[in-house]
Amino acid sequence: MEFIMAIVIGILFMAAVYLILSRSILKIIVGTGLLSHGAHLLILTMGGLGGTSPPVLANGVTDYADPLPQALILTAIVISFGVTAFILVLAYRSYAENKTDNMDLMRGNDEHD
């Protein structure tokens, strides 16, 4: 299963990088969203996908899924949500101020060096 997941994660990263390299702000934000999905799945996969039952104590169960990566991912999800919300507002503000979402136009000119 990890083999398939590794490929899926690779595809997620590839799509994310492709979008981040584009010129539109919205695409870049979408790209970062895909990137964090990829990273979360990567953490989960690296912990191993073998567990047969969720990491909640129950009688007679010994084969729990690894709880540590799950805790890490939970933290990461919340943080990435915070960051995504912020850059979304940032994009809104910069669009309102600069009247453009074209990254190629958003650059200092030589006088600002």
Binding site: A6, F13, Y18, V56, D66, Q70, I77, A85, R93
Partner: protein
């Protein structure tokens, strides 16, 4: 008394100069300054007795003892000679400057502070026994020289000259520091005396030649040796007292001092002898040849200084042969070098002062406008005549003696057996002879074109008259010395030169009186150097008389082929090239920088993976394929493709939501209920946020992205994706240590008192993470509010900026 502190006396005195300049307006500040070098000179005279007996005095002040760095005043024959030159000529120069610089018009508080800093630095250079403090003082001479050259800082030429000398001498200084550090590594000490003691073990060391070349680079740049001499003529923009002091008598001799001081360490090397003697001779020829081309009095003297420094340098190189041969003539060469060093300081100092006087009293230094000043300025003429004749090497002046000794040493080099000198040695006397002819020509050119002949019809800027007495005192004293040394050379030899020679070659002598040199003006009719002198006087005189005809020959060399043009274009190319380079890769586009980062990460990681042969896929470590997992994976990949090909923002956001929900499904399948819950909620809120911002967000747009751009992005993206997959596979296949999770599973009920392991980890085992995760969320929330509420009054500003 702890006389190492005397090195700092001028710097301490400099602290009071601005105060005296502001408070005591009636007295020229220079009179106070004059006390410093005079008292130092008198004090240091007292050491003569010690050094004449071959002894030395030493005084140490710890600076950084743990690193073996200290200030040491080590006074032997060589450093005493330099110390006396620095303080003696320093006193004369200060006296001269009192009359040269106007106390009302000039910023004397600046001038004398710089000059006193320089004096301290120079004393430190020649007395330091510790190479690190030597380097400190060395750079201090560079800095104070920079300040003095740029003294009239409103002139472009002054600033250019100051910068140029700074660039070149600091370059050399840094190289020298490298050499010192290598010496420190080889000898395990920074003390020069101890290095000299350990020197025999250095020769076979791998750093030996490198250290040698680096130290020589420092010496050559400071002493204006070819091809680093180009800063010296430009340094002539400094006030004349500075040129007389720094750029003829003291600072430019710091390089000679360095070569002389390190001779006992490096003289065993063939490279040292060839470089010192060869570059010295080349500089001698180059300087004397181009001195005749100049039309500015100080430029003539600058090139003449370059040439004379080359002469002394080549003599030091020949003197180093004494370590390889018993022939007394090579020991004689070191004597000649030191002797000429004294002579040059006397006559060149006086000549610079005369050039300053001529400038001061006529308003120009252009030799083409001058002439016939002999009857108006008789004293200046006499001094200039004495100085020039000494420089040309004519009796009865001290330059004659040193010139004879120089020619004698150069003739002797033919007979040296080692290092290919038997083959190439013959060129030494030949070049020396040619250079001496040109020296003769420019000496005559300097004095007679200025003072003899007719006055030019074009009136001079200032009506010429003799200089005030105070200004003439210093040059007259120096000129008197020039004549006096001719008549009492052996006294000077005994007092100053022989102790210095012993310091340069400590292994060869145990007492200065063993330096068996007796200077004589007359060597008998059979001496070859006599005939060389006679012939060079004859040829030189003919060349001087026909000067007007052949001086045009210098115009053949095009401007752009000169060393100065090379320096200028190197500077321009350096500046422009670096600018172009950074403009080339710093495009200002975020995409470019992201490409650098992604490409770098992907290529480095993939390369490491394969070079280290870390790529392993172990099928056994993988868990069995789960049908639901495969289905979800397909859904996820399809949604990702939807995101990529979406034409409108709505479909892109919905597809992104689909990706998020399939990730949540994965969490369900892989037994992570808390994650699945969180992911569902967060994904819902995210999509809602996107939709909320929808109205204000721009529509999806390619912004004219070309196919080529897209292909480039695709390649980079594919590289990153593949790398991540490969790393993930290899990482999973090679687990080095077991997971810590077993501990959590075992103790969650007993230690944590809970049943949900993930939640107990979050709030109990690793609660700290959670605390700051909450902090992140709060900061993000505050920032979102701030971003929305923030009313920037930038509207007007931004329109201004875009004009």
């Amino acid at each position: 008394m702890n006389f190492v502190l005397l090195i700092f006396l001028p710097i301490v005195a400099a602290l009071f100069i601005p105060l005296l300049f502001k408070k005591v307006k009636d007295i020229h500040t220079g009179w106070f300054v004059l006390l410093v070098p005079v008292s130092l000179f008198i004090y240091y005279i007292g050491f003569l007795k010690t050094t004449m007996d071959g002894g030395h005095a030493i005084s140490e002040l710890q600076w950084i003892p743990s690193l073996g760095i200290s200030f040491v005043s080590y006074i032997d024959g060589l450093s005493l000679l330099f110390t006396l030159l620095i303080t003696g000529i320093g006193a004369l120069v200060v006296l001269y400057s009192i009359f040269y610089l106007d106390k009302r018009k000039e910023k004397l508080n600046h001038f004398y502070v710089y000059l006193l800093i320089f004096m301290s630095a120079m004393l430190g250079v020649v007395q330091s026994d510790n190479v690190i403090s030597l380097y400190l003082f060395w750079e201090l001479t560079s800095i104070s020289s920079f300040l003095l050259i740029g003294y009239w800082n409103t002139r472009n030429a002054s600033r250019f000259g100051a910068l140029k000398s700074m660039m070149i001498t600091v370059f050399g200084g840094l190289m020298m520091l490298g050499g010192f550090v290598l010496l420190g590594i080889m000898g395990d000490t920074f003390s020069i005396r101890e290095l000299i003691t350990n020197a025999p073990t250095f020769v076979s060391h791998e750093f030996f030649t490198l250290a040698l070349v680096l130290v020589l680079l420092g010496a050559f740049t400071k002493s204006a040796q070819f091809p680093f001499h180009i800063w010296l003529p430009d340094a002539m923009e400094a006030p004349t007292p500075v040129s007389a002091y720094l750029h003829s008598a003291t600072m430019v001799k710091a390089g000679l001092y360095l070569v002389a001081r390190f001779t006992p360490i490096f003289a065993v090397s063939e490279v040292w002898i060839w470089l010192v003697a060869g570059i010295g001779l080349l500089t001698l020829f180059w300087g004397s040849f181009f001195a005749v081309k100049q039309t500015d009095l100080k430029a003539i003297l600058a090139f003449s200084t370059v040439s004379q420094l080359g002469l002394i340098m080549s003599l030091l190189g020949v003197g180093a042969l004494a370590y390889h041969s018993d022939d007394p003539i090579f020991k004689f060469a070191t004597f000649a070098a030191i002797f000429h060093l004294i002579n040059h300081a006397t006559f060149k100092g006086s000549l610079f002062m005369i050039a300053g006087i001529v400038d001061h009293e006529t308003g120009t230094r252009d030799i083409r406008k001058l002439g016939g000043l002999m009857s108006i300025m008789p004293v200046s003429f006499t001094v200039a005549f004495i100085g020039s004749m000494s420089m040309a090497g004519l009796p009865p002046f001290n330059g004659f003696l040193s010139k004879e000794m120089f020619l004698q040493s150069m003739l002797a080099i033919r007979h040296f057996e080692l290092f290919n000198f038997a083959t190439w040695g013959i060129i030494f006397p030949v070049i020396a002879w040619i250079a001496s002819v040109f020296t003769f020509v420019y000496s005559f050119y300097f004095v007679f074109k200025t003072f003899a002949g007719q006055q030019k019809s074009e009136p001079l800027p200032v009506k010429p008259h003799e200089a005030p007495v105070g200004m003439l005192v210093s040059p007259v004293i120096l000129a008197t010395l020039v004549v006096a040394i001719f008549f009492i050379p052996n006294l000077i030899g005994k007092w100053l030169v022989k102790p210095a020679v012993m310091a340069v070659q400590p292994d060869l002598y145990s007492h200065p009186s063993e330096v068996a040199v007796h200077v004589a003006a007359w060597h008998g009719i059979a001496a070859p150097e006599l005939w060389m002198t006679v012939s060079l006087v004859g040829v030189g005189f003919i060349l001087f008389l026909t000067l007007a005809r052949w001086q045009k020959m210098y115009d053949i060399q095009p401007q752009y082929l000169s060393l100065n043009a090379l320096y200028d274009s190197a500077m321009l190319v350096g500046e422009g090239g670096m600018n172009k380079l950074s403009r080339f890769y710093m495009t200002g586009l975020i995409r470019t920088y992201l490409i650098y980062m992604f490409a770098f990460i992907a290529s480095i990681t993939a390369a490491t993976l394969f070079i280290k042969e870390a790529f392993v896929v172990d099928m056994d470590s993988f868990s069995p394929v789960n049908m639901y997992g495969v289905l979800t994976a397909i859904v996820l990949v399809v949604s990702v493709c939807m995101v990529l090909i979406a034409k409108t923002r709505l479909s892109a956001i919905i597809a992104l939501g689909a990706v998020g929900y399939s990730v949540a499904l994965f969490f369900v399948i892989f037994k992570a209920p808390d994650l699945a819950l969180t992911q569902l909620v967060i994904e819902t809120i995210s999509v809602a946020l996107f939709l909320l911002a929808f109205k204000h967000l721009p529509s999806l747009n390619n912004h004219g992205q070309t196919k080529r751009n897209k292909l480039g992005n695709l390649i980079i993206a594919a590289g990153v994706g593949i790398t991540v997959t490969l790393v993930a596979l290899s990482a999973h296949s090679q687990k080095l240590i077991p997971s810590i999770s077993q501990y959590y599973k075992d103790t969650v009920a007993t230690e944590g008192g809970g049943g949900n392991i993930v939640n107990v980890i979050l709030v109990d085992y690793r609660g700290f993470d959670t605390l700051f995760e909450i902090a992140v969320l709060s900061i993000a929330g505050i920032a979102v509010i701030a971003m929305i509420r923030l009313k920037l009054s930038r509207k007007e500003e931004s329109t201004d900026e875009n004009k």
